[in-house]
């Protein structure tokens, strides 16, 4: 199935998605990498409200290249970063929010797939496709936590038909990565057996 989703993505829309569906996102996307996830957790620990609502946006694992053009920020290359680095952090964040839609690349762990149950989805965007991604970013609406530096800050993007994104982990415990990993392990054993 192919879906066009607009933020905020409702819970019922999240629950409808199944692995291998293709999704195009329009609306508000925020970037968050290692440092931004750590700071979100720091805010939760101190009962401090975040400057954005995770449920209202799509969280994009991305450290973009941003330029300042006549006083306005512009994203010129903004592909996804390796989501696996965030494996230990994302389940902790999912405990504190109602729902979350993530976009990243390379896949996430079984623990993340468990934490996403009934709560959220992980969408895969083509790794390395920075110029293509930037083309779908219509405006940089703002930035939070700029002290973290350009790649680690939380940038707020207005996007139009950002995609194709593949539903790689759905809200029902299904993960393409778990399926692929199982097959890869079997293939690995058969490749090595005659050696």
């Amino acid at each position: 199935m192919e879906y066009n989703l607009r933020t905020p993505v409702k819970k019922e829309e999240i629950l409808r998605l199944k692995v291998r569906d293709v999704v195009y996102i329009s609306g508000k996307v925020i970037t968050a990498r290692d440092e931004a996830h750590l700071r979100m957790l720091e805010y939760f620990d101190n009962n401090k409200p975040l400057p954005f609502r995770v449920e209202d946006v799509v969280v994009y694992h991305c450290g973009p290249i941003i330029i300042e053009d006549e006083g306005k920020f512009r994203a010129i290359s903004a592909g996804p970063t390796t989501s696996a680095r965030l494996n230990p952090l994302v389940p902790k964040i999912l405990k504190k929010v109602e729902s979350m839609v993530m976009i990243g690349k390379g896949g996430m762990s079984g623990e993340v797939a468990d934490a996403l149950k009934e709560k959220g989805v992980y969408l895969a965007y083509t790794g390395g496709a920075g110029a293509l991604a930037a083309r779908a970013i219509k405006e940089v609406k703002g930035v939070y936590w700029q002290d973290l530096g350009m790649p680690e800050a939380v940038w707020v993007f207005e996007v139009e038909r950002f995609g194709p994104c593949i539903v790689a982990i759905d809200a029902h415990g299904n993960s393409i990565y778990a399926e692929v990993e199982k097959r890869v392990e079997e293939n690995f054993r058969s490749i090595l057996s005659p050696l």
């Binding site: 291998r20 293709v22 991305c62 450290g63 973009p64 290249i65 330029i67 010129i76 290359s77 903004a78 592909g79 970063t81 390796t82 696996a84 690349k105 390379g106 896949g107 895969a124 083509t126 790794g127 390395g128 496709a129 920075g130 110029a131 293509l132 991604a133 930037a134 083309r135 530096g149 350009m150 790649p151 194709p164 593949i166 790689a168 393409i176 990565y177 399926e179 692929v180 990993e181 097959r183 890869v184 392990e185 293939n187 690995f188 058969s190 490749i191 090595l192 050696l195």
Partner: protein, 272 residues
């Protein structure tokens, strides 16, 4: 005679070229992969090819991870240098960071403080070789972290020659979808602990459409893993396997596997 200013400009040009124009041998390998694949894998390769065109047409980096600049310099024995070549290269990287622009990636390893210039202690990484002739050849390979992070080195025993293949394939298997497959696998066999890593990195400078029988066999085995484009399954896990070898101590067998993403960016220029 080559001047400092010339080197600075050439470094900027090479970085711009590397980030906006993928070498045609790599583009051709991706086009072949597109023909082979179906379903999700095919749509991922299509996005990669669309991205390569968008990068070239818009003149913006194909990947936001513009990497760490790894520079290889071959200096002709007859070249007369009256300036600090390393300083000029560092200045070129600073200038390119502003002008291309590049993402400022280089940070202090412990404080993670980012000077914003892509220049710091031992960065850019500059490798200098002395060769015959009267020219300077500059090659720049921007190396991203997604692929560098899943690279691996192992000091095998001399009795484990038959374990080399297993180590290479296992390194690719453990990397899963993290290094942005389809990948290029650079392998160094022999030399020393640091020497085999350098051989693996230098292997990545080679054209990817010229492989030996050994390399092609390894490629075929790696592609049977089924990790596929972006790790979502498929026939194309790697586009190439490139192996370089060197002699080693009779008591050791170092093997390094340096993984490169599909964005196998590299550019060279000759200065006289």
């Amino acid at each position: 005679m080559v001047s400092r200013e010339e080197v600075i400009e050439v470094v900027v040009d090479l970085l711009r070229k590397a980030h906006t124009e993928l070498p045609e041998d790599v583009v051709n390998a991706l086009k072949n992969a597109y023909e082979r694949e179906e379903g999700i894998a095919r749509s991922i390769i299509k996005a990669i090819l669309d991205n390569i065109s968008a990068s070239k047409n818009l003149g913006v980096p194909m990947c936001q991870d513009t990497g760490i600049p790894v520079v290889f310099v071959e200096i002709g024995r007859e070249v007369d240098l009256n300036f600090d070549l390393k300083e000029a290269i560092r200045e070129g990287v600073k200038k390119a960071t502003k002008e291309v622009p590049l993402r400022p990636n280089a940070v202090h390893p412990l404080t993670r403080k980012n000077p914003g210039t892509n220049v710091g202690s031992h960065i850019p990484q500059i490798n200098i070789d002395l060769v015959e002739g009267d020219a300077i050849k500059l090659t720049i390979m921007p190396k991203g972290a997604g692929s560098e992070n899943v690279s691996s080195l192992k000091m095998l025993l001399p009795s484990q020659v038959d374990q080399i293949e297993r180590f290479i394939i296992e390194t690719v298997k453990n990397a899963k979808g993290k290094p942005c497959p389809p990948i290029i696998v650079g392998v160094g066999i022999g030399s020393t602990f640091d020497g085999c890593a350098k051989l693996a990195k230098k292997a990545l400078l080679r054209r990817i459409d010229e492989m030996s029988k050994f390399e092609l066999e390894l490629l075929e085995k790696i592609n049977r893993l089924g990790i596929g484009p972006s790790g979502l399954g498929g026939r194309t896990t790697a586009l190439a396997v490139l192996v370089e070898m060197g002699y080693c101590h009779t008591a050791s067998l170092p093997v390094a596997v340096n993984i490169q993403c599909w964005a196998n960016r590299r550019a060279s220029a000759v200065l006289r």
